[in-house]
Amino acid sequence: MPADGGIGAPTPRREDVRFLTGSGNYTDDINLNGQAYVYFLRSDVAHGTLNNIDTAAAEAMPGVVRIFTGEDFAEVGGVPCGWQVTDKHGEPMQEPAHPVLARGKVRHVGDPIAAVVAETLEQARDAAEAIEVDIDELPAVIDMKAALEDGATKVHDDLTSNLCYDWGFIEDNKAAVDEAIANAAHVTTLELVNQRLVANPMEPRVAVGDYHRANDESTLYTTSQNPHVIRLLMGAFVLGIAEHKLRVVAPDVGGGFGSKIYHYAEEAFCTFAAKALNRPVKWTSSRSEAFISDAQGRDHVTKIDLALDADNNFTAIRTETYANMGAYLSTFAPCVPTYLHGTLMAGNYKTPNIYVNVKAVFTNTVPVDAYRGAGRPEATYQIERVIDKAARELGVDPIALRRQNFITQFPYATPVAVEYDTGDYTATMDKLEEIADVAGFAARRKESEARGKLRGFGVNCYIEACGIAPSALVGALGARAGLYDAATVRVNATGSISVMVGAHSHGQGHETSFPQVVAEMLGIDPSMVDIVHGDTSKIPFGMGTYGSRSLAVCGSAMVRATEKIIAKAKKIAAHMLEASDADIELKDGQFSVAGTDKSVAWGDVTLAAYVPHNYPIEDVEPGLEETAFYDPANFTYPSGAYACEVEVDPETGKVTIERFAAADDFGNIINPMIVDGQVHGGLGQGIGQALLESCTYDESGQLLTGSYMDYAMPRADDVPFYAVDHSCQTPCTHNPLGVKGCGEAGAIGSPPTVVNAVIDALQSGGHNITHIDMPLSPSRVWQAMQG
């Protein structure tokens, strides 16, 4: 390892200096000369026929530049969906149009009706109040099962129903699953809700459109996790702008958690309006607006059956889920309940028969898409809750039941179409029992009880498929894009390096961890390596950051590009050392001839590449820059075991997290400090889901949790210090770094852990409660205790 922190070093983050001094460059910090401001007039009803929009009075208001409505977008495309699911009958899903601004109908509270561009934001808002909108309110469809009943009001009149798709996975498994359940010694059934959440990155979304008439170039500055994807979707499918005339920049981005993956109408609007008006147009979302315009997450209603034989071996899992799509299909929405959920229903267990049914439903709510974990938390929650319930019904130890059914042989092909490459679930459970001090629980429970509190212990295992890629596989599953990634390693004449990566860092610390890899490979100081990301004009291509894919996919591309650099540099060094390139070794930044003391330094070779006087010019081009695209052969499969201890106040129902331990297997680790931070953050969000957060609509489609006054965000005093460990490492076998990804684990593994612990606490107090739907708020827990 280089002295200053190569692979495995907990190097402090270099990006921190700008964030800690107020020198970051977030999208809302960007102000362009002559910019106008847009305010979106949004529907305040969940469902209605849009009869007329009268903007005459508003147009005359001070400062108004122009008011746009859906008619202005008649000639451009709608917001596209990037994934097509095929239903259990082989038919494509129903895919409604998604206009940039509403046309004909409004379909959720927050659906944009008109966009007012004015000299100031307050003027735009003033004018928006003067727009007269004639809407005939229609009955709102909110409950998914009601939405599928005959005669239900349709969200989209041109579709046959509110059913997006009815998906069976794997249809050929179904008969065997039904038979296994019918013949089981024991079947545990659980109905549960994985509630709707709002991602809530602390930075609300912002878009600034800019246009240069002289060269017909459009630029969009946006809060995105994947600027190239936005360029592709918006350029090709919405506005019809070719890539070379469209630049998308995602500068410092204040968190995403999935919600900034998608292409949003506001981005297309600002880009379109900047060209139409020939001046920059800026939109900054308020938090209130974010609650009704950012794609939301989860929202599954599920019934799961777990069958066991007489020896408590799992024999079958059957699960039926209703998945809320909201009013329109967001970019990745259809794949979340299917390929990011169904494929994980084996969990960590060798269950031979699994069948998954998912009905995706349109409702008059904000669109739903991936939120940290995306499908995998929903799968894990079902599996791990039903296992816990089964253990209780059978009177067996929940850890022992899990251990007994662990997959122990790898690679392991599941009945749900994926092949786990590596893992050691017994080892992570062993580690968990150690760091969670399982042995000490009984004494701690006694101490809690002496204070009048109920104490519970919950355990959970998870597996996730991440490093979201192989293009061929995701293509077969319905993706309309490839999911490789790209990196360019540009070595400058003096030996310093810029690496242009397709991944986007919005909290993950790529600017620190990625150079650790390159520095390690070259044996140079990491400070000689900088990462460039977030700008389509600077980076060859990239699919962005989500699905814990940055290091596993883009990092692998970076490794491949660096390998090309090394191969070329060795040829140059061989020429300089008058040796064969096969004999050249690179170590600690020195190229040497094996078995001799002849060497040249890294900087001498890079200089020669750009000053090719004494140079193998016949065989090797000048310069030192290489690009690689990487498309892995499989997903990666991080796994882990989590434990939580809670106290429940039996008088109020309030749950407090007393201890939380996480033992993860992420394969190899580049920067353990950053990995720990990713786990902590995921745990915070998962505990938030378990105890606090819920995005709730009333029957008419009004959002009841439209601000932090009602949407309970986890705060510092809601959580404890976490004990995290990632010393169990089974390297991934199909990427050059052996890494698996760590961004989502905490959010996937923690909700069932907490719920299992609360149920355990309540049972210990004599309450025969087997399930409470999240969030386990004080009022819900108290209500459950009332019987």
Partner: protein, 262 residues
């Protein structure tokens, strides 16, 4: 926000005049509730009269009768730090909102707003406080008139709140998980002539006195004296954070804990 002008008088008399000059003028205390309201365009004043620069209505003193008197423009943080003579009140102030909110929000602003989930109304009511305005004195029992409604006239400013200091008192709050406002808050204060118990957060009619608990505690100031007492969930606020029955139940729990802490 709609457009308005801001005035920053330094004398109470000027503030009163600025408020009476315009029917669309509104007093601005710490702004911790008013400013978010303005951002939502739910209020449309033409003029805001900031009270934060008026020293004569800011500060904490003890009057000749031993009452702790707190200027209307005194911030929660100042009360938390300076109301040591009435620890339960200082403790209440120290847990309103968060530290930054406590550095701006004022007792006068909170009482004038009478948010049904605010903490201060319970302290004023349980203490039998007197609210002094620029024109009169109002007993707490006459001041609170339901959700966001008080006895204040247009343009009337709370200049001081006089709290008789009890022998024993405590405030216990059960926080709404999102806003951290009181889902239920109970202030119990024991005076020589009896016990007063005020409840915030729970009722659809705003802060109220729980008379059964007062009677029970006046004859026996112990948590056990509350055993068997309960409130009905009818008339209690019911929302996604808790049913009326839950709030009614919590009133009992918080009252008991307050007595134990007093």
């Amino acid at each position: 926000m709609y457009s308005f002008e801001i005035e920053r008088p330094t004398r109470l008399a000027d503030a009163v005049k600025l408020l009476s000059d315009s029917t669309e003028a509104q007093a601005l205390g710490g702004g911790q509730t008013l400013i978010p309201t303005l951002k939502q365009r739910l209020a449309m004043p033409e003029r805001l009269v900031s009270l934060s620069g008026i020293d004569e209505i800011r500060g904490i003193r003890t009057d000749g009768e031993g009452a702790l008197c707190i200027g209307g423009a005194t911030t929660h943080a100042e009360v938390a730090a300076g109301a040591g003579a009435y620890p339960a009140l200082a403790g209440l102030a120290a847990n309103i909102g968060d530290p930054a909110v406590r550095n701006r929000g004022t007792i006068g602003g909170s009482l004038a707003n009478n948010d049904p989930s605010a903490c201060y109304p319970s302290a004023a009511l349980a203490s039998g406080a007197t609210l002094v305005t620029n024109s009169r004195e109002i007993a707490a029992d006459d001041f609170f008139e339901g959700l966001f409604a008080t006895a204040l006239e247009e343009g009337e400013i709370i200049t001081e709140v006089k709290f008789p200091v009890p022998e024993k008192a405590a405030y216990k709050k059960f926080e709404q998980p999102a806003s951290r406002f009181a889902l239920v808050g109970v202030f119990v204060a024991k005076y020589g002539d009896g016990v007063r118990v005020a409840v915030t957060g729970a009722s659809e009619d705003g802060v109220f006195r729980w008379s059964e608990a007062e009677a029970a505690l006046s004859s026996d100031f112990s948590a056990g004296a509350l055993a068997g007492l309960s409130l009905s969930g009818d008339g209690m606020i019911s929302d996604l954070h808790g049913s009326g029955d839950y709030r009614a139940h919590l009133v009992g729990v918080m009252a008991r804990r307050a007595v134990e802490a007093a």
